[in-house]
């Protein structure tokens, strides 16, 4: 969720205009079958992540190749997300602060979370998540007075194809979550009762984030209109800037930026975890020095994209042309092959 609620409105309105908000939730729901496929593989291969499962199902060679792709994609994307921390702060409220400080401050926190382990990371997320929800809800409700309901009509006047293309641009968001699930699988409980609980959590996570992102896009289209929403890079911050409670509370986008940073830290940490797990699984590289090395690579990637517009188009490129095709094909192929092999074995017995 960390990076989705800032650009989501601009992305969907550029594809689907006034109807763009409608595609957010369906695109997120695409994550449910994928999440359930991942959990089905968990019950079939307990205590193994999907890289290990790939080696078992596809054989060592293909499994390793998938593992390398997984590390490269998640590592590159994690570095780009780190770059986004600098981009958004420089762009909005702190243009004079050296961009390296944003990178350094964030990577230290991310490294600390990764080094402390998955439990500390989970607790950190547990603390930050309600703040994110609260900030979003406040931002949206305080914008109600500025909405123009008429801008949503006519519904579907351009047909459904623009929505389909918009959905393709939102689907990578949920696939990022699936990539993290692929790695964390080895740490998840495997008895049937708890897998049932995990299934429910997949539904809950997808719907919660999907609905929130949908409301973010919905509100922005209502407040700015579809054309202006497309023009704004980080619409939620502009919305935050317009929040006014009398003259006492006004222009509070800095508070939203703080909350957003928390969300982004969670997301970068998730991708640091995926790279670290990947290195351990595929190349047997583990320990503190490799975690530091990955952090250094993240910093290097971030420094390679200090120009904001290039960074945004690169994130969009990785989302649309790497994460989405890689995850959809890999998980579907892995699940299908594992099922097929399982069926064959049963018949063989």
């Amino acid at each position: 969720m960390g990076t989705t609620f800032l650009p989501v409105a601009s992305i969907v309105s550029s594809a689907g205009g006034r109807d763009g908000w409608m595609i957010v939730l369906p695109a997120f729901i695409l994550g449910i079958p994928y999440g359930l496929m991942v959990l089905s593989l968990l019950s079939q291969f307990p205590n193994k992540n999907l890289l290990q499962v790939s080696e078992i199902v596809f054989g060592k060679g293909i499994g390793k190749l998938i593992g390398v792709l997984y590390i490269l994609i998640t590592g590159y994307f994690g570095g780009l997300l780190l770059g986004q921390v600098g981009d958004i702060y420089e762009r909005s409220i702190m243009p004079l602060t050296p961009i390296s400080l944003f990178y350094l401050g964030t990577i230290i926190l991310v490294f600390y979370l990764c080094k402390s382990g998955i439990e500390v990371f989970a607790r950190f997320s547990e603390v930050i998540f309600p703040l994110i929800i609260l900030a979003l809800i406040l931002n949206l409700t305080l914008s109600i007075s500025r909405i123009e309901p008429g801008v949503l009509l006519p519904i579907l006047s351009e047909g459904v194809m623009p929505l389909f293309w918009g959905g393709l641009k939102v689907a990578p968001f949920v696939m990022e979550y699936i990539l993290f699930m692929a790695g964390i699988l080895a740490f998840l409980p495997t008895d049937m009762k708890e897998i049932g609980q995990l299934r429910r959590e997949v539904w809950r996570a997808v719907f919660l984030v999907g609905i929130l992102d949908m409301f973010v896009a919905f509100t922005q289209i209502l407040v700015f209109g579809p054309f202006e929403t497309t023009r704004i890079v980080y619409g939620l911050l502009v919305l935050g800037k317009m929040v006014e409670v009398s003259r006492t509370v006004a222009g509070v986008e800095s508070l939203f930026l703080g909350v957003w940073l928390g969300a982004l830290v969670i997301k970068i940490s998730a991708f640091l975890f995926t790279v670290v797990w990947g290195l351990e699984t595929v190349m047997n590289l583990k320990g503190l020095k490799w975690e530091i090395a990955v952090c250094a690579v993240f910093m290097g990637i971030a420094f390679g994209f200090v120009r904001g517009s290039v960074l945004i188009s690169e994130i969009s490129f990785v989302d649309n042309y790497l994460i989405l095709p890689f995850t959809t094909i890999w998980i579907l192929g892995l699940w299908g092959t594992a099922r097929w092999k399982k069926g064959k074995n049963i018949r063989g017995n």
Binding site: T97, I108, P154, E228, K241, M242
Partner: protein, 397 residues
């Protein structure tokens, strides 16, 4: 323990570096801008006038006039772009201009006639500027408005902001914020209205005493100003947009036509229903109004049903005239300031792509049908106006 200390000390050192003091802005280093005026000089350069707050003068409890010090300071500077002009202002001020508290943009008519989207780009792009700032156009130089005084407020910019906020009371001038203009500029069909602002000097007052007044409405085709609407025409536009919230409608007093009576608008709303008949667009504008007999000049007894019916008919006629004159002028200028296009799009989504392609042409041909449903409810605390009598007890003529 040693390991922990070796971790904690660098962390503390980093924390000292990390807070990002690079961007600190101390209050005494900021020139807090309350209003911005933009003109274009004869040499083509942008002229920016900044109304800057003087905190020391604000502190004083005595009035500005009594203390002899003004609460604001106006700096004018030139540049190739708006941003350049603003930064050039720092060559005259000892503080850097800070715009987060800015409440007003004033643009000159001369500038607006050549388009304002370029000049507004900075205000929508930079994070320091806010999109809820009120926008005005003046027949004078914008600098004159920024330099003007206002009797009731220490900070003239705040007076202008309050003037914008109170426009609902008369509904003769629109209230327009930067975000409204940006939304219209981004749309393919909408045109814009912007309130006019001027300086007035009353005849019986000291020549140095002047005051600000909202006056007329500038009409923008895309981002270029094409002309002015007077108060009645402006209210015609506001009726259609459903933005009349209050105000007074002056009508000839029934039974005493040489005199006027004032009808107070208590609440009003409107909706526009488009119809496509044989390829021609007909817009039915429905206006509903609840009003009071707020004032009666004359001696007629108006507080009876038949008089109320007559007044309601007059209100209908007046509103229809206001709307017709506004629509007809807008059609002559090819400006869809009524947002008819989104209404047509909503009702006829299939036909819309064809209509949108020639929208200016279509707009010019639109026929309007105005239906006003005015309801007069109350007459204040009086039935009949007072009728002065002479010593014989007869009504004085």
């Amino acid at each position: 323990m040693r390991r922990k200390i070796t971790l904690i000390i660098p962390t503390i050192l980093l924390l000292l570096l990390l807070p990002g003091c690079w961007n600190r802005r101390e209050l005494n280093t900021m020139a807090i801008v309350e209003a911005v005026g933009v003109d274009r000089a004869n040499d083509g350069q942008i002229v920016v006038s900044l109304q800057i707050l003087k905190p020391s003068a604000i502190k004083s409890s005595t009035s500005e006039k009594a203390s002899g010090t003004k609460s604001v300071w106006v700096v004018t500077s030139k540049g190739e772009t708006v941003f350049d002009a603003i930064r050039n202002a720092s060559l005259q001020t000892d503080r850097k201009a800070y715009f987060s508290h800015n409440t007003v943009y004033v643009l000159s008519e001369e500038l607006a006639r050549n388009g304002i989207s370029d000049e507004l780009d900075l205000f929508s792009r930079d994070s320091e500027f806010r999109k809820l700032t009120y926008v005005f156009i003046t027949r004078r130089k914008a600098e004159d408005i920024i330099r003007s005084d206002y009797e009731q407020e220490k900070i003239p910019a705040q007076a202008i902001e309050k003037l914008a906020k109170v426009t609902y009371a008369a509904s003769k001038v629109p209230k327009v914020q930067l975000i409204d203009l940006l939304k219209n500029f981004a749309s393919k069909t909408n045109d814009s209205i912007v309130p006019g602002i001027d300086i007035i000097q009353e005849d019986n007052k000291n020549p140095n005493e002047e005051s600000l007044k909202l006056d007329g409405t500038a009409i923008l085709k895309r981002d270029r100003m094409v002309g002015w609407f007077n108060e009645k025409e402006t209210r015609g536009v506001l009726w259609v947009l459903g933005k009349v919230k209050s105000g007074i409608i002056d009508i000839a007093t029934p039974g005493n036509e040489s005199k006027k009576s004032g009808i107070e608008i208590i609440r009003a709303d409107s909706n526009v229903v488009p119809e496509l008949v044989d390829g021609n667009l007909i817009m039915t504008i429905n206006v509903r109004l609840d009003g009071n007999l707020g004032e009666e000049m004359g001696s007629s007894d108006l507080v009876k049903p038949e008089s109320f019916d007559e007044i309601e008919k007059q209100i209908d006629t007046d509103i229809k005239e206001e709307i017709s004159s506004a629509v007809s002028k807008a059609q002559n200028w090819d400006v869809d300031i009524f947002k008819f296009a989104p209404d047509v799009h909503r009702k006829y989504p299939r036909e819309w792509p064809e209509l949108e392609r020639n929208w200016r042409e279509e707009f010019r041909k639109i026929q309007i049908n105005i239906i006003v449903d005015a309801k007069l409810h109350w007459s204040g605390y009086l039935k009949k106006p007072v009728q002065p009598k002479n010593t014989e007890g007869e009504v004085a003529q």
